[in-house]
Amino acid sequence: MSNLVIGGSTLDASWFLGLAAILFVLGTVGVLVRRNPLVILISIELMLNAANLALVTFSRQLQNYEGQLFALMSMTVAAAEAVVGLAILVDIFRTRDAEDIDDLSELKG
């Protein structure tokens, strides 16, 4: 148990970590269950955001700057990932109608 005093109230760091865990698991469900490639990319963004919340929580608990800097770096990586992923998706959709991720299985051995 680790108490954070925020604006006169006392919150526990594990609440924030629990929220991050729930959001990460929801993102995992989206990646595993959904079939639309676009929604899978959106779920990956959700997982990255959950990881950011955990990083910032530990940064606040330790009163250390490295967690926040790492969260900023991971936001940069997430932006780059979204740009390249969406460009690949548009390129695929231009040549064929791929509404199901299982349609894209030409690389199968």
Partner: protein, 169 residues
Amino acid sequence: MAIAVFFVFAALAIAGGIGVISFHQPIRSVLSLVVVMISLSVMFLLLSAQFVFAVQIIVYAGAVMVLFLFVIALLGPARELGRGRLRFQAWLSGIFVLVLFGLMYALLQGVQYRQPEKADLSIFGSVQWIAVYLFTNYLYPFELTSILLLVAAIGAIYLSRKRTGIDDL
């Protein structure tokens, strides 16, 4: 007060996360993700990470989500058709997710917190405070991210170029 804010926005974030994975139209998933992003930005503010809060709103809820909306507008509304061709996918996903959640729960129960370093909380997370570390200790990773963004931009331009002949395929 802070406790009430936490629980309201935590409930909003979880509702948005459920919306992301349960709506059938991609545009509703994107708008649910915007709800999650804004709720998480409030969490960052609660954790006194002001600069990360601003970046979350501007870069994520602003730029990245608009990019997703543009792609959806470009591709047109696609609805998901029924089930896929992998058998037992829903069951296997359910088992995997239950195991993952149990693992995370066990991790949360056993986490050992170190003593805080007693930083000055009045400037913690402000722009000046972040900038001092970003441009001294972490200058090299900061410059590396510029190369990463350059590579991503060149890659996006290359992928979306116009193809004229058979040689370009």
